[in-house]
Symmetry: C2
Subunit: 206 residues, 2 copies
């Protein structure tokens, strides 16, 4: 299993497989074919078989994939079998939406701390968390072992927040601000860009 060779496109599809497999497991469905996965997820079954083959031979011809085993394997590959605490900076509408969403996340990967630069936000409740001042960020991140940081501040403040995250030892950043942020090479950044999503959808209009 050469994880370093897995393309970003495959890594981005695995959580989608996982979500559907979890819904099958909740319904006590034991096996699933690549055809069924393809139909439900709007993907080509051959693509799905290829994706899953990266990680070894899990499927059986004519029977399909063992749902529980596949869930376990994908969770291992995505490292979701480990505890990965997440912190968020920016207690606006989007930050609040994400914190409220926290209840849907598994225990292993939850937002565990929220920060904002504005004193007016400090002490506010977001989901099950209380907004803290930025001055507490470094210490809190170290104490809670936070590994991923989420940025939901306005574009102008995003780079500063990224710098604070990096200084505190964060390893990966999910940036919702509509701006490109720069971080050292060893830190991974994903941009969650609403405008880009809309624009790439527009491409598919006739």
């Amino acid at each position: 299993m050469k994880t370093e060779k897995i393309s970003e496109a495959v890594v981005r599809r695995l959580p989608i497989y996982l979500r559907y497999l979890n819904s099958l497991a909740m319904k006590n469905v034991m096996t699933v074919s690549s055809q069924e996965l393809g139909q439900k997820l709007d993907l080509n079954p051959a693509q799905i078989r290829k994706d899953l083959a990266y990680f070894g031979e899990f499927g059986k011809k004519g029977i399909g994939y063992d749902v529980g085993y596949l869930i376990e394997k994908i969770r291992q590959i995505l490292k979701l079998d480990r505890h990965i605490p997440v912190a968020l900076v920016g207690a606006g509408n989007l930050g609040r939406a994400l914190c409220n969403y926290n209840i849907y996340l598994r225990e292993e990967m939850k937002i565990v701390a929220v920060f904002d630069a504005s004193p007016g936000k400090w002490g506010e409740t977001m989901g099950n968390l209380t907004v803290q001042p930025m001055s507490e960020l470094a210490e809190t991140i170290r104490r809670l072992g936070v590994r991923i940081g989420i940025i939901t501040v306005p574009a102008m403040e995003a780079q500063n927040v990224a710098n604070s995250f990096v200084a505190a030892g964060i390893e990966a950043v999910l940036n919702f601000a509509p701006v490109i942020i720069k971080v050292p090479n060893e830190v991974r950044v994903h941009h969650a860009d609403f405008t880009a999503e809309l624009q790439s959808l527009a491409y598919y209009l006739d």
Copy 2:
């Protein structure tokens, strides 16, 4: 220019190029090299040249790309030179965040109507819009020529909203609800999934 052959990965990178090119244009920068684009966007310059070559030969060796021309071309390819009105259903925190974000969007592709099923939300102001009841969705979408629908309702309600969008003639859907929705083949769906973003980031942690 065979647009039907452009991969989804390329279509998803074009808005990222466009955003950076727009920032250069605002600073009156006239040309840019693939090296500089690559450095700013954390992409391989060869990948960038390959992406842009899909659409014809825009770059000049030793000089680079004409920023204005590239912006115009990418906007054409993404069909952003047309008017594409957007509607949103779900006036919660996330819906509000997206509507507030509306001011960053160009005139050609803005959210022009917001709906919610809950009477308590009707008449509320979100950004520059007023929340309307679902009963007005079909008529409003037709009147305003809305082509893309955004779903920011809880998972349980998302399929119903998708059905309403499809019935009203929407051509593409951006779904933020943490659930897979089914639509007819001729309708394009993108899932904006916060959990999946976090999970694919986790893959890159050591």
